[in-house]
């Protein structure tokens, strides 16, 4: 049995810098595995202690092709890593990412289960896992809170509005898991060292199964910092009682109490 986990390598949104003209830059940002994909890695790894192999797949421009990316992903449990590195994936939209990832999965072959996080830290469109599943022609579910393998099928819990469904799905299947589906590990020194010895292959878009989409389905017109209200930023210090009295005074002044 082969489980594939889709991981996005993305800039930390906290490191976003905003220029005086509202322009934004990630020039000095740290990059890391998208927060919720770490959950998917953990789910995959816990399933794999029962069966088979876990292959992580990361797609992106040459910015992802570093030993830091490899170690970061492989120290979180997968047995090996497939990287789709291609500069035509700059600013990739869900269609491009999904078509590259589906192509990689086709080339890996005999994959039974595809897992990914709910959405990526940067775009959070919550689309790529779904579109990968549909492109592969597999049953696909989002908002999956737990996964158990039962031979040739899997049993999942899916959260839909105010209901939780327990579902049985025949493999192969693609699942986007919720943020609380597992508690992601913090890799230790031993895991990071072991990661260095695990195999990685690097493919370009031209190496994949079906040809991947190389253009965006939409043209980006502008990306600007969101303006937000400026606040008074008054701090009340002193003892809790003094500070509380001052705050209540301010709230009365604002006619809020």
């Amino acid at each position: 049995m082969t489980i594939t986990v889709l991981c996005k390598w993305c800039p930390d949104t906290e490191d976003l810098e905003v220029g005086s003209d509202g322009s934004i830059s990630f020039e000095r940002a740290k990059w890391s595995i998208s927060e919720y994909d770490r959950v998917a890695l953990e789910v995959a790894t816990s399933l794999a202690t029962e069966v088979g192999e876990v292959v992580a797949v990361v797609a992106g421009t040459s910015i992802i092709d570093t030993s830091m990316t490899r170690k970061s992903v492989l120290s979180r449990g997968p047995d090996r890593l497939v990287m789709v590195v291609d500069d035509r994936l700059a600013e990739a939209d869900a269609r491009q990412s999904a078509s590259a990832l589906a192509g990689a999965i086709a080339r890996i072959g005999d994959v039974d289960l595809v897992l990914c996080g709910a959405g990526s830290t940067d775009l959070f469109a919550q689309q790529v896992g779904i579109q990968v599943g549909e492109r592969l022609g597999w049953p696909t579910l989002n908002e999956v809170a737990s996964v158990h393998l039962t031979g040739s099928s899997c049993r999942v819990e899916r959260r839909v509005v105010d209901e939780i469904d327990t579902l049985e799905v025949a493999l192969p299947v693609a699942l986007a898991v919720t943020a609380d589906a597992a508690l992601p590990r913090v890799p230790g020194m031993r895991e990071i060292l072991a990661a260095g010895k695990k195999p990685t292959v690097v493919w370009s878009l031209d190496d994949l199964g079906p040809p991947a989409a190389v253009d965006r389905a939409s043209q980006v017109v502008s990306t600007v910092a969101r303006s937000h209200s400026t606040r008074l930023q008054v701090l009340f210090e002193g003892s809790p009682t003094e500070a509380a009295a001052q705050l209540v005074g301010a709230l009365r002044h604002e006619s809020l109490v």
């Binding site: 949104t13 906290e14 905003v18 934004i24 269609r95 491009q96 959070f124 469109a125 689309q127 779904i130 579109q131 549909e134 049953p139 696909t140 579910l141 989002n142 959260r159 839909v160 509005v161 105010d162 209901e163 939780i164 469904d165 327990t166 579902l167 049985e168 799905v169 943020a179 253009d215 965006r216 389905a217 939409s218 043209q219 980006v220 017109v221 502008s222 990306t223 600007v224 910092a225 969101r226 937000h228 209200s229 606040r231 008074l232 930023q233 008054v234 701090l235 009340f236 809790p240 009682t241 500070a243 509380a244 705050l247 209540v248 301010a250 709230l251 009365r252 604002e254 809020l256 109490v257």
Partner: protein, 315 residues
């Protein structure tokens, strides 16, 4: 400006009818409702001002709107609407992704603005945890779009105008998925968007028992409780319909009090429209203070009871 091609609104819930019509009218004067649901939903849609209401069918318990992807994609390829719009629910996000893959486009999700320029669709949505706004121009023939909750005003022509209903039931192959059990999860009151005063609890609260302290503050202010995402998803101390932020609710109360909340952008965009924001946090460097009008630096376990006492003293 709008296009001459019709725009589709895919409706599977009564709450979305007016808003989807309002959003779709930003693109076309001709808006066709594709309804997945019971007869009363079709009737509601047909009397809301759509040019035409098509009834795709009433799904069986084990089928959701997502399972209509193949049928809707086929219809879309035949008729080439400007775009298919839907609300941003779990099922509709899945439907959008499946439709987009079949139409070889990329879904445009959680859009807060929609228009046409030179007969092409232009949308705006937030990204980077709400820190930025992106405007994009659709290049594919048909757009697949989910709309951001609260971003569009409902279009209401009143119930006086029943438009035509077309029975267009389509064949849905049930997915190879069996439903073993369905349990309902309790929801909270669901009146948070209307609340004038909201107190939001964050991870700084420390334990589920300590939430009581924060609840007392909400009571003393006559407000409602909300929280950050980790409290609703992960710690499960509060309901999933109670967290605020980019992936949760956006509210615009007169007063928002953030207690033990660090103030990450993903949370703060949900309360940016509050008139006054107050923060209580023991870390003077917490980003929440820069996003607040008034702040108290201190341990919430001391500050909140003191605040409750001070409020009682003035009321």
């Amino acid at each position: 400006m709008t296009t001459t091609r019709p725009t589709w609104a895919i409706i599977d819930s009564a709450t979305d009818v007016g808003v989807l019509l309002g959003a779709a009218r930003q693109l076309s004067d001709v808006v066709v409702a594709l309804v997945i649901g019971p007869r009363h939903l079709v009737e509601q849609a047909s009397s809301s001002g759509f040019s035409e209401t098509r009834w795709l069918g009433e799904p069986a318990a084990t089928v959701g709107s997502e399972d209509y992807a193949a049928a809707i994609a086929e219809l879309a390829l035949r008729e080439t609407p400007t775009a298919a719009l839907m609300a941003s629910s779990t099922r509709n996000r899945l439907l959008a992704g499946r439709l987009a893959a079949r139409l070889d486009t990329s879904a445009l999700t959680d859009v807060s603005d929609l228009r046409t320029e030179d007969d092409t669709v232009v949308v705006t949505h937030s990204l980077y945890g709400g820190a930025a706004l992106r405007t994009e121009r659709l290049l594919s023939a048909i757009g697949v779009i989910t709309i951001s909750a609260g971003a569009f005003a409902a279009f209401g022509s009143g119930p006086s105008w029943p438009g035509p209903i077309v029975e267009a039931s389509c064949a849905v192959t049930p997915p190879p998925i069996s439903l073993l059990e369905r349990r309902s999860e309790p929801r909270s009151a669901g009146t948070l968007p209307q609340a004038k005063v909201v107190v939001g609890a964050g991870r700084g609260v420390g334990s589920r028992d300590d939430l009581g302290v924060v609840e007392e503050l909400a009571q003393a202010l006559g407000g409602q409780m909300a929280c950050t995402r980790p409290l609703a998803e992960g710690l499960n101390w509060m309901g999933r319909d109670q967290y605020l932020g980019v992936s949760g609710l956006s509210i615009a109360p007169d007063l928002y009090v953030a207690v033990g909340v660090s103030g990450q952008m993903q949370h703060m965009v949900g309360v940016d429209q509050a008139r006054v924001i107050v923060a209580i946090n023991n870390d003077k460097a917490a980003p929440v203070f820069a996003e607040s009008d008034y702040g108290i630096v201190g341990d919430l376990h001391q500050v909140v009871p003191a605040l409750v006492d001070a409020l009682k003293a003035v009321s």
